[in-house]
């Protein structure tokens, strides 16, 4: 019983949040990693792309809610996601046509593309704020928990509770499905392979009859879908605020890179590395050890390796250590 209590506490405060957060990061990192893998640049606008896609979804969600549509226990926003994706895709494709294509034809260095994407980031930044404003938006409805703390306690009779949110569940499931699908798509399908070929050697892809514009378009479409899904799931779980999405960029990049740029599996692994190191390393073991150790040995202090002030620092230290041993990430990513 004591052991179970300890474990439930650990699960509730470390394992479940970290897995959910890891999946959220992974979904974002998938978009980043895909752009890097196919179009060969680090897209700084990704955070704001996520924000834009989410915003479109939110607007449609409000409309649906206004119409009285609901998904029962699931959030209505799930219904609106396709519209969000469509809106996001429209914006991205327009951007590609007006902005990126020019540089692609010029064959500029990746770093120029990075700076260009920062320009795009500023613009998306403005557009989103023009339309929906800067405030925090909460658009989650439906059942918030798959199982809540109190229910869990009554159900199991344990002292410690455990909560799993609906959105956490959806996020984890989605992340797994999306990664598998993307992996399958890139490695098994004709289009996927042609995308990899394009990223590897553009000229030769041309000589094989691959239409680069099509490859680019498909890539952006997938990115739009990924960004919107990632953004919406994150927003459902926490809340939607444009500035936070912009700030998400950093851990997302960290996840994509530590996993190995260009690798979908890496994005997942990277997301978990970052999430677990943020949530896990600074965890204060007092409560758990209190259950696991005999009364006499139960700790007085917090048994915390490092205070949470340093949680970002710690996660970056872990990232560094990983990179020192695997210089191109866990899954042998690309490097330009």
């Amino acid at each position: 019983m004591e052991f179970l209590n300890g474990f439930v506490a650990l699960a509730n405060f470390v394992l479940i949040p970290a897995v959910a957060y890891g999946s959220q990061l992974a979904l974002g990192a998938l978009g980043v990693t895909l752009i890097y893998g196919i179009l060969r640049f680090s897209n700084f606008a990704h955070g704001d792309t996520m924000a834009f896609g989410t915003m479109c979804t939110i607007l449609v969600t409000w409309w649906l809610q206004g119409m009285g549509v609901s998904l029962g226990p699931l959030p209505t926003a799930l219904l609106a996601i396709p519209f969000g994706i469509a809106g996001c895709a429209a914006l991205i494709l327009l951007t590609d046509r007006v902005v990126y294509r020019f540089y692609r034809v010029q064959r500029v260095k990746p770093v120029i593309m990075v700076i260009v994407s920062m320009g795009v980031m500023f613009i998306y930044n403005g557009i989103t704020r023009f339309i929906i404003g800067t405030e925090d938006q909460n658009f989650a409805d439906g059942e918030r928990f798959i199982i809540g703390v109190r229910d869990f306690k009554t159900l199991t009779g344990l002292d410690e509770g455990l909560a799993i949110r609906t959105t956490q569940g959806i996020t984890v499931v989605t992340a797994v499905i999306v990664v598998a699908a993307l992996f399958w798509f890139l490695n098994r399908t004709r289009t996927g392979k042609s995308m990899r070929a394009y990223s590897d050697n553009e000229d030769l892809a041309l000589l094989s009859g691959i239409n680069p514009e099509r490859v680019v378009m498909v890539t952006w479409l997938i990115v739009a879908a990924l960004a919107t899904i990632a953004g919406v799931l994150y927003g459902l779980d926490k809340s939607f605020k444009p500035f936070t999405y912009f700030q998400l960029l950093l851990p997302i990049f960290a996840a994509a890179i530590v996993g190995g740029l260009g690798s979908p599996l890496g994005a997942i692994a990277g997301g978990f590395v970052i999430a677990f190191s943020e949530v896990g390393v600074t965890y204060a073991w007092k409560k758990v050890l209190g259950y696991w150790m005999p009364e006499s040995l139960a700790p007085d202090g917090l048994v915390q390796l490092m205070s949470t002030d340093y949680k970002f620092a710690v996660s970056f230290v872990i990232l560094l250590i990983v990179l020192l041993f695997r210089p191109t990430g866990l899954f042998k990513g690309k490097s330009v």
């Binding site: 070929a197 030769l204 892809a205 094989s208 009859g209 691959i210 239409n211 680069p212």
Partner: protein, 237 residues
Amino acid sequence: MGEPYLIGEAMTGGYGKGADILHACTIAVERGEIAVIVGPNGAGKSTAMKAVFGMLDLRSGHVRLDGRDITKLSPQDRVAQGMGFVPQTHNIFGSMTVEENLEMGAFIRRDDFRGTLAQVYDLFPILKDKRHQAAGELSGGQRQQVAVGRALMTQPKVLMLDEPTAGVSPIVMDELFDRIIEVARSGISILMVEQNARQALEIADKGYVLVQGANAFTGTGKDLLENPDVRRSFLGG
């Protein structure tokens, strides 16, 4: 005899805004024949090939395939028209496996290409052993084999090869030339650049010597081989 199957006629052009590299250069190949281009380094051989394939903006001149003017067509459209090309450098997908490289060669084909794949593996047995290895990890000669294999997968009507034998061992080179002859016999036109010029000219129906972007000598393979000037200046005596 009418017009050649593929002809780049009086092509003039260069890279970007730079000076012209090609000066009214003409290259042609008949259906089912082998044409070989030789010349010193930097003569513009590769440039001429790229020009024929539409990877270069021509300032003047035309490219015609089977009587149709394709000067304005983009490279991937030319692929669709049945042209295949192996560039001199960067001719493989380094991060993809050997097999995926070959599949990419068959990208525009909608039919079942397993037969062709088997033929390619037959021709280059080493590739079959390494088919799940990333092409970038191969040795220089193996890469070259992948590159040629990829082009063969297209089953083109014209096959353009830029120095296909650079870096391959003698035994493979012989195999390759043999295969090229076979391919040509099946009605496919072959246009290739070679520095192993003597071997290449021996199997060539027609030979071009390019110097500084212009045609210097043209003739049958035999003619060129027997021409002492050509031998001395371009074929290493």
